[in-house]
Symmetry: C2
Subunit: 479 residues, 2 copies
C-alpha cells in the first residue's frame, strides 16, 4: 500500500494530491466517480482532515476533481477527454529538488537588465568589455594550432593550467603548492558549490562575514547549512568572535573573503589574520579563503594570503579569473589538501565532467604571457579611476545623504544611505530611472545599504547613473 | 545542550566522536583527563552503549583518547602538543555531503589510463583526436576578433548558440523549438545532473533502460532516486513494461537513450516509439530523451527523435556535442517546457553560472559552417570502419567465445563473453596486457558482458588491443 513520505520536503498535501491524481490517471477512479470522503482518506493515511482538504483543493485547481457541497468530491467529467492524453504536470516537477530559487531582488535586477539593454548597470559584479583583456584573449585564440586534443580531461582539470597556476599562486599570492593539490573549477561559484555540497552535511553550522556576498548565494541554504554571521568593522571580522561561535554553535567551517571584500571592499587587517589563523588552528576549524580580488589592489601590494601564512593545512584557497580578466571564461581554482581535492574532483564528475578545455588553455597561456602583467597594471589604474568617478558623482549628487569608505582595491563601493528610504521601492524607482545596483539586504545587511560596482559602467554612465539614482532617492525620501 | 541529529546521514557514533573531539579541542577536557564513562554518556545522549563504544574507538584510532581496561577513557597525553595547533580533520570533512563516490571499476580504469599513457583505451566513451574536428575547431578559433565580450551570460546560455541550435534541432532531429526553450549545459552529464537534482525529490522512483549508461552514473543514487530497470531486447525497451512499473512503483520519470544506446548500440524500434509516447501521455509521465549518438547513424538516416513525434509536451530532450565532435568542449543542450528551463537555469546559477562563452561560440559557428556536414560524413565512415575492424579482430582472436550485434551507429560494441570469466579478474588481467574496456556490470548487466568503444583507439591499436584482451580471456577461462 502507498504511504506518505514524512521525511520528504514535499508537503504532505501535495504527496496526497499526487497520489490521487495517479490513481485517477491509471483508471482506478474513472471520470464522474466519487472519491473517498475527506474523513475516510484522512483516517486511512493517518493525517489531519485539513491536509486532505488541501489536497482536494489542489486537484480542484487543476480541474481534475469537482466538489459540490453535500455530495462529496468526484473526478471531473471533463477529465474524460484528458484521461488518455495527459501532459506531465511540469509545474509540480519544477517544484522538486533541493535547490532554492535565487533571491527576488536579484531576479528583478536580472530581468530589468534583460528587458532594457540601455540600463546602467552598477549591479553586475564584473568588468566591462573595456576593462577585460579581450584583445589579449583573442590574440591567444588566434595563434595557430591551439589545441591538439579535446577529450574528456583529468578530473582535476587541464594540466598545463594547473602548472601555470603553481607559478602564479607562488608569485602573486605566496602560496607554495603543486599541480596535484589544485583543481580547476568553473569559477569560484563552482568551488563554493562543491565545498558546501561535498564537505558539509545538512544541519552543519558555518560562519560567514556579515555583510557578505555569500548571503546572496542560496547555495548555503540549498545545502541545508545553518549560517552564523561574523560582524565586520573597517578592519574586517574580529577573530575572537569565532571562538564563541564555535563553542555555542559548533561551527564546522568559516568562509571569508579577506581582500577587498564583496560587498564592503574591506581588507582584513594583518594582525587579525594572524590571530584568526591561531584560533582556527587551535580549534581545528577549516577556513575557506575566497580571494578573487587581491590582484586588483590599487597599489599593487595586496596583503599576503591566509593560505601563505598557514602552517597548519587548515585553509582551502579559492581563486578566480572572473574579477581580474573575464567572468564569461568561467575559470576558477581551488587549492586544498589531497583528500579534499580527490573528493570534490570525484563529485564534480557527476555534475559536468569539468570545464571546457579551451578556456582552460586560454587562461594558462594568458597567465604565462607578458601581457598578463601589463593588463593587471592597466586594470588597477582604470578601476581606481572609476572608483574616483563614482565617489565624485556621489559627492555631487547626494552630498550629505550617503556615507562610504573608499576601497583600496576591488570593484565594489558599499554605500550607506543616511535618510530612511524603503529598500524595495528605491530599487523599483531606480529601475524606472534606468539604473540598477544591489540592495544591501541581499548581502545580509540591514536595509539602508547598497552595493555599487564601478567596474561595469563606463565613465559617462557612472555620472548619468548616479544622477538617476539620486533622483530616485530624493523622490522617496521622507520629506 | 548539544543533541544528536537523528535525521543526519552521518552515523550517530561519528556525531558523538565529533562532539567529544570538539569539547576536547576547546579545552573542556584537558589532556590526561578522564572522559565520562561509556554508560554515562550513553544515558545522557539516549543512545546504546555500543554507539558510544564505537565513538571512543574512532577517537582512539585518531590518537585523541586512550583507554586502559578498568580505568576508563582519557584524553591522550600526547594530545597536549596538539591542543593548540590542530589541523582540520579533512578526512572526516571529505566524508560529508550527498555525492556518492564513482564506481570502483571506473576508478580503476581511470587510474590505469593515468598511469600508463600507452594503455589501449576501449573504455573512454569518446572520439579520438583523429575523429574529432580539431582542425575545424582550431580554424574557428583562429578567425580574427572572435569575441567582443566575456561577461556573466544569460543563465540559459549564449544566445547565438541557442539560435544555431534552433536550426540544428529542426534540420537534424525534426524538433521545432525556440531559443527560449533551450538551455545550454556543460554536456549531457550536466543536463542529467540538473534534471535529477531539480525535477525529482529523494525517494522518487524513475525507470531506466537495463543495461544503461545511467547505471554508471552515481548521480541517480546521489539524488536519492529509486531506480527501476526496463529490460531491453534488440529493439530496445518494451513500452508495456512502463505501465506496470507505473502502477506498482509510482515511477515519476523515464530516462531513455533511444538511438545507438550506450552501452548496447540498440535502436528503439519505430513502432515501439509510438507506443511508448501513447503510454507516457496516457500516464502523464515525462520522458528524458538522451540523444547524443543519433547523428552518427552510419546510413545518415537516424529515426526521428521522440521529441519530434510528441504532441503532448512530455519530453525533455537532451543533446551533446561530445560524441559527434569533442567531449572536451563540454557543450550540451536541453529542450524542455518553459517552467522546467526556468527552474534548471535558476538552479544552475548556484552551481557555476553556466558554461564558458568561448566553447559556446565555437560550437555555434561550427554548426553553421559547411565543414560541419563534411565532418559528420567523414565521422560516420570512419566509425563504421573502426566497428568493422573491431569485429574482425574479435572474429580472429575470440571466434566462438564472444557474441554481439553489430551496431548501425554510435561508438560502442556490447560484447557477451560466452565462457564464464570472473569480471574483476578479467579487467585486472587486461590492464596487465595493456588494454582497458568497461565491464558490463558498470551498466547494470549481469557479469559476462563488456563494452568496447571503437572510436578512441586507432586501427593498429584495435588489432593489438583485442589480441591482448583475447590473451586475458584465454588465461582466465575455466579449462
Ligand atoms: C567573493 C566572491 N566569491 C565568488 C564569486 C563568484 O565568482 P566566479 O564564480 O565568477 O569566480 C564572486 C563574484 O562576485 C565574489 O565576489
Ligand atoms: C547516453 C549518454 N548520455 C550522456 C553522456 C554524457 O556525455 P557528455 O556529458 O559528454 O555530453 C554520455 C557519455 O558517454 C552518454 O553515452
Amino acid at each position: 500500500m502507498w504511504t506518505l513520505d514524512r521525511k520528504s520536503k514535499k508537503p504532505l498535501y501535495e504527496q496526497i494530491a499526487d497520489h490521487i491524481e495517479q490513481r485517477i490517471a491509471t483508471g482506478e477512479f474513472p471520470p464522474g466517480s466519487l472519491l473517498p470522503s475527506e474523513r475516510k482518506l484522512a483516517n486511512q493515511l493517518g493525517v489531519n482532515r485539513s491536509t486532505v482538504i488541501l489536497a482536494f483543493a489542489e486537484l480542484r485547481s487543476m480541474g481534475i476533481v469537482e466538489s459540490r457541497t453535500g455530495s462529496g468530491t468526484r473526478v471531473a467529467d471533463a477529465w474524460r477527454g484528458n484521461i488518455t492524453r495527459h501532459t506531465p504536470n511540469w509545474k509540480r516537477y519544477a517544484e522538486n529538488g533541493g535547490f532554492l530559487p535565487n533571491l527576488p531582488f536579484l531576479r528583478k535586477i536580472r530581468e530589468a537588465l534583460l528587458q532594457d539593454p540601455s540600463m546602467i548597470d552598477f549591479a553586475s559584479g564584473e568588468l566591462s568589455a573595456d576593462l577585460a583583456p579581450i584583445d589579449e584573449i583573442n590574440a591567444i585564440l588566434n595563434k595557430q594550432s591551439n589545441f591538439a586534443y579535446f577529450g574528456y580531461d583529468n578530473p582535476q582539470g587541464y594540466l598545463p593550467l594547473r602548472q601555470a597556476l603553481v607559478e602564479y599562486l607562488y608569485q602573486y599570492r605566496g602560496i607554495r603548492t603543486s599541480e596535484s593539490s589544485i583543481m580547476i573549477t568553473s569559477g569560484s561559484q563552482q568551488s563554493l558549490f562543491l565545498i558546501t555540497q561535498c564537505l558539509t552535511s545538512p544541519g552543519d553550522a558555518v560562519a560567514i562575514e556579515d555583510p557578505s556576498y555569500s548571503y546572496s548565494l542560496p547555495l548555503f541554504q540549498s545545502a541545508g547549512l545553518r549560517i552564523y554571521p561574523l560582524p565586520m568593522d573597517d578592519q574586517g571580522i574580529s577573530p575572537d568572535d569565532i571562538r564563541s561561535l564555535f563553542k555555542e554553535n559548533r561551527i564546522k567551517m568559516i568562509f571569508l573573503n579577506p581582500n577587498f571584500q564583496n560587498p564592503t571592499g574591506t581588507v582584513l587587517a594583518q594582525e587579525r589574520r594572524k590571530k584568526l589563523l591561531d584560533i582556527a588552528s587551535e580549534l581545528g576549524l577549516p577556513i575557506v579563503e575566497d580571494d578573487p580580488y587581491s590582484l586588483t589592489a590599487y597599489d599593487g601590494l595586496p596583503l599576503p594570503s591566509l593560505k601563505s601564512m598557514d602552517s597548519n593545512g587548515g585553509i582551502i584557497y579559492i581563486g578566480s579569473f572572473s574579477k581580474i580578466a573575464a567572468s564569461g571564461l568561467r575559470i576558477g581554482w581551488m587549492v586544498a589538501p589531497h583528500s579534499v581535492i580527490q573528493r570534490v574532483a570525484d563529485a564534480r564528475q557527476q555534475m559536468d565532467f569539468g570545464p571546457s578545455v579551451i578556456p582552460q588553455g586560454v587562461v594558462a597561456r594568458f597567465l604565462q604571457s607578458d601581457s598578463f602583467v601589463a593588463h593587471l597594471e592597466r586594470l588597477r589604474i582604470q578601476l581606481q579611476f572609476n572608483r574616483d568617478l563614482l565617489i565624485e558623482a556621489l559627492q555631487n549628487e547626494l552630498s550629505g545623504l550617503v556615507a562610504y569608505n573608499a576601497p583600496q582595491g576591488g570593484i565594489h563601493l558599499w554605500i550607506k544611505l543616511i535618510p530612511y528610504v524603503h529598500e524595495g521601492k528605491l530599487l523599483d524607482e531606480a529601475i524606472k530611472n534606468g539604473v540598477v545596483y544591489v540592495p544591501g539586504s541581499v548581502y545580509g545587511s540591514n536595509s539602508g545599504f547598497a552595493r555599487f560596482t564601478y567596474a561595469r559602467p563606463n565613465s559617462q554612465d557612472i555620472q548619468t547613473g548616479i544622477a538617476g539614482f539620486a533622483r530616485s532617492v530624493r523622490k522617496l525620501m521622507a520629506p
